[in-house]
């Protein structure tokens, strides 16, 4: 059930109504029920997967928690008699058992994710290698549909597992509450991947109706729909046309596609997250931000601290750090420091860990080579910019332009260009084509398409461009205003009429200018006699 479907709007309105009318102690149970109804509508067959993930996570986490409690009780009980070594030995014994539990839960869940998502991808590659080595008979493909949000809730629950294993917080003993954490429906479609301790603060609490919270939440939902319906879904038509016909639309059209796809992805993704966070806010639940004005990132590293933050932090905490502080890895670093000398030796663990992270990030986005190459390109850019640091320092030493307005603008443009260039892999879904098209952007660049109406035959007419231009200006203005703190707070401080007027204008803009429904197709009364 997509965010933009009527049924979803009815679904959440019903939820809001019930949420604040039923007795407070049933509120989180209502959320759980709604989340599972949402999941059932998406695909009854998929319930089995989310239930397995929830149950295995619950069992393993509670087991680990039990061992921790035994450990603490044991240590407290014979505090004096035990020497430090005994304590350490006992502790590592317990750790080993807990590790087995963690491992089995990880195996089951990541195994399930791997089988469902990547089985065809691996078969395709096996077949490819078989062909290369001449044995014709390839494996047949397995037809599995992807359960809704499996990558999101699997990562979220595994993050919870590892936190419990690390003793960050005790496990949730109520299976229902854990089930809600795993299946909280707004997060199923586009994330964010929340941390248990962060979400649990408000997810299970009882919430009173709070006018300010409600209106802020609704405003945020509207803002999400504005970006999604007015901008993203409108420009998507042009994006699809440009992708659909690579022969006709190469050269400067590839640049147009880069810009359009970046706008579409930004509007669609941040819009979707706004809706998610807005819904949670109306329910009194605090979901962490997933974007921090990513368009203003001045370098790739900073970009990935502003874009899809929850995924970035997940990989950093549960993959990047563990790999780089892993015993064998540290041994390898010591070895490489003697062999390659201090300077290279020091950076090696970082690059190996980063490589692993970016490879999995790419694979996480989708099970095909273009996503993996997308991840590796990001890694390459990060590594190069890290290596060039001394060069930058030398450059800035000579022309002290560091920190000036023009330099910042240059950095922002450069980062955006780089990111959208790499993102082309997402559009063409095929690595050779992407590189060929990217090349053609320079080889066969002809800027006449901007003057001879070339932009009008990719599915958008002049009015569409006007709407997009104005809508993007509004988004830009809001982004600028956000530097001085939350825009909704500023609105809230003004007299009520202003707030309501903005709310109403946004609502009308979505209804009138939104790209939805049959009416949106270009030839409105399609003459179709058969």
């Amino acid at each position: 059930m997509l965010f933009t479907s009527h049924t979803f709007v009815i679904f959440i309105s019903l939820l809001f109504l019930l949420y604040y009318t039923i007795p407070k102690k049933y509120q989180w149970k209502l959320l759980l029920a709604f989340s599972y109804v949402f999941y059932f509508i998406a695909g009854p067959k998929f319930l089995i997967y989310i239930i397995i993930t929830t149950v295995t996570t619950y069992l393993a986490a509670v087991r680990i928690g039990k061992h921790y409690r035994h450990l603490d009780a044991y240590l407290k009980e014979n505090k004096q008699t035990l020497t430090r070594e005994d304590k350490k030995a006992y502790k590592s014994g317990v750790k080993k058992i807990q590790w087995k539990w963690l491992l089995s839960a990880l195996l089951v869940n990541f195994g399930m994710l791997f089988v469902i998502k990547y089985i065809n991808f691996t078969i395709a590659n096996i077949n490819w290698t078989l062909e290369v080595f001449g044995s014709g008979q390839g494996l047949s493909f397995v037809s599995i549909a992807l359960p809704l949000g499996i990558s999101f809730y699997t990562f979220q629950s595994m993050g919870y597992m590892i936190d419990v294993y690390r003793g960050k917080y005790p496990p949730e003993r109520n299976l229902g509450k854990l089930a809600l954490f795993v299946s909280f429906f707004p997060q199923l479609i586009q994330g964010p991947i929340s941390r248990f301790d962060d979400l649990a603060k408000t997810l299970f609490k009882e919430h009173q109706i709070d006018a300010k919270n409600m209106s802020f939440g609704l405003q945020r939902i509207l803002w999400g729909y504005f970006k999604k319906l007015v901008i993203a879904d409108r420009i998507l038509v042009a994006v699809n046309t440009l992708i659909g016909d690579t022969a006709a639309f190469d050269g400067s059209y590839v640049f147009v596609l880069m810009v359009f796809y970046t706008i579409q992805l930004y509007a669609d993704f941040t819009g979707g997250i706004d809706i998610t966070i807005g819904i949670a806010q109306v329910l009194g639940i605090k979901v962490q931000e997933n974007f921090l004005r990513p368009a203003f990132a001045k370098n790739t590293a900073e970009f990935w601290r502003r874009w899809h933050i929850s995924l970035g932090t997940w990989f950093k905490e549960y993959l990047f750090y563990p790999i780089s502080t892993w015993q064998p890895m540290l041994k390898f670093t010591r070895y490489s420091r003697q062999k390659f000398g201090d300077r290279i030796g020091k950076r090696l663990p970082v690059y190996i860990a980063a490589f692993a992270v970016w490879f999995t990030t790419g694979a996480w986005h989708g099970s095909s080579w273009n996503f993996i190459v997308w991840g590796l390109l990001n890694f390459a850019v990060l590594m190069i910019s890290d290596e060039l640091k001394p060069l930058y320092a030398m450059f800035h030493g000579r022309f002290n332009v560091e920190g000036t307005f023009h330099h910042k603008v240059f950095q922002i443009l450069r980062t955006n260009f780089l990111m959208s260039a790499i993102r082309l892999l997402d559009c063409y879904r095929d690595v050779p084509t992407t590189f060929r098209m990217f090349g053609s952007m320079f080889a066969r660049a002809d800027l006449s398409i901007f003057t001879n109406g070339g932009l009008l035959d990719i599915g958008l007419n002049v009015e569409d461009y006007w709407v997009l231009a104005i809508a993007l200006m509004v988004v830009f203005a809001v982004a600028i205003a956000q530097r001085r703190g939350s825009v909704r707070e500023q609105l809230y401080s003004k007299p009520a009429i202003v707030g309501r007027a903005v709310f109403y204008l946004l609502f009308v803009a979505i209804i009138v200018f939104g790209a939805y429904g049959i009416g949106y197709e270009s030839s409105q009364f399609i003459y179709n006699q058969f």
């Binding site: 009015e463 009308v508 209804i511 939104g514 429904g517 049959i518 949106y520």
Partner: protein, 352 residues
């Protein structure tokens, strides 16, 4: 108290604004495809009618209520619309019975050939004109195609919002007060285009009308029986789409079985005096005004003989109301003939 007042005020302005926006954005069918404005005109009628005619273009282009009044004093109204499907006709009739109780109901049977919903554009033209009612809701549900959804009928702005870039002066002028274009549901066309050739009908795999179509025809018969209304089935003298003999047999047999009248004007070309070189404006598909008048002459006498309807021309107030309608009718007829001389085509309808 002041807070309550300001909240209700904002709601009034909010919904008022959206309602106004919706009225402006709805298509007005002022030129080009004018048939979309047919249904809505019924609600402005001041007096009841003895004869209600329902169906598709075979009724609203071939029968002239003004002639029925002038020649026989019969009061009639055509609740027709483009490619009106049989369930839409049925629910329109059911809705009409809320406003008045006619003596005779005439239904054009060509619609029997459509057993399933056909086209979103036609649905919109027939259904958007209806006022909100249970019948409208049922008619929408029976007509909806898979890609359509109920909410865009309840709030048409969800369907027509993207018309914002095509608005013209008529959209604003006729947002509330719609200009009258038809004569008790009759769409006058004075132009002439003689018939040359009519292609024979293609061989069909199955000539039987669908169950869904028969179901609603039975319901129509039942509804008329309950309200002791005389039902008259007709097939207009349109030469295309082709009216197969197998279809004809089914209708004749159906009429006999349910003891209702059935006239096939295709077999009464001489009796009605219709001459296909002058009486049609699109080479045989629809009659023009002269053709419609001839057909109405015959139809009027048939109704007079079979259904003993009162001749209302002597009734003072009715005569006054219909007097104004006749003037409007003859005025438009003269205007159309004038346009034909001056431009060779109906400028007011084409709208270029």
């Amino acid at each position: 108290m002041k807070k309550f007042f300001s909240i209700t005020l904002t709601f009034v302005i909010a919904f008022g604004g959206l309602g106004l926006g919706q009225r402006i954005l709805m298509p007005k069918y002022t030129t080009g495809i004018v048939e979309g404005a047919l249904i809505e005109e019924y609600y402005h009628e001041k007096a009841p009618h003895d004869v209600i005619i329902i169906g598709d273009c075979e009724v609203y282009e071939n029968i002239s209520p003004i002639t029925l009044w002038e020649e026989y004093g019969i009061t009639s109204f055509i609740r027709g619309s483009a490619q009106q499907l049989i369930w839409q006709s049925y629910y329109l009739l059911e809705e009409t019975l809320k406003y008045e109780k006619p003596e005779v109901v005439i239904f054009s049977v060509l619609a029997m050939k459509y057993d399933q919903p056909q086209n979103e554009a036609y649905n919109r033209m027939t259904l958007d004109g209806m006022r909100p009612s249970v019948q409208k809701f049922k008619s929408i549900r029976a007509s909806m195609l898979p890609e359509e959804d109920m909410i865009s009928y309840v709030f048409p702005i969800l369907r027509y919002h993207s018309r914002w870039s095509e608005l013209n002066s008529e959209d604003f002028a006729e947002a509330f007060k719609r200009q009258r274009r038809f004569h008790n549901g009759y769409y006058m066309r004075a132009d002439i285009k003689p018939v040359e050739t009519i292609p024979e009908g293609r061989v069909l795999a199955n000539y039987d009308f669908g169950e869904n179509a028969y179901k609603y025809l039975d319901m129509m018969v039942e509804l008329c029986k309950e309200n002791d209304i005389e039902l008259l089935l007709i097939k207009a003298p349109s030469l295309y789409p082709f009216w197969y003999d197998q279809w004809e047999d089914q209708m004749v047999e159906y009429a006999k079985k349910h003891d209702i009248e059935y006239i096939n004007f295709l077999e009464l070309i001489e009796e009605t005096g219709i001459d296909f070189s002058v009486d049609t404006y699109d080479a045989g598909l629809h009659l023009n005004v002269t053709g419609a008048e001839k057909l109405s002459m015959y139809l009027g006498s048939f109704i007079k003989d079979n259904y003993r309807l009162k001749d209302w021309r002597s009734d003072g107030d009715l005569a006054e109301i219909w007097q104004e309608k006749c003037e409007f009718y003859h005025g438009m007829k003269a205007l159309q003939y004038e346009e034909l001389e001056k431009y060779g085509y109906l400028k007011s309808i084409k709208g270029e």
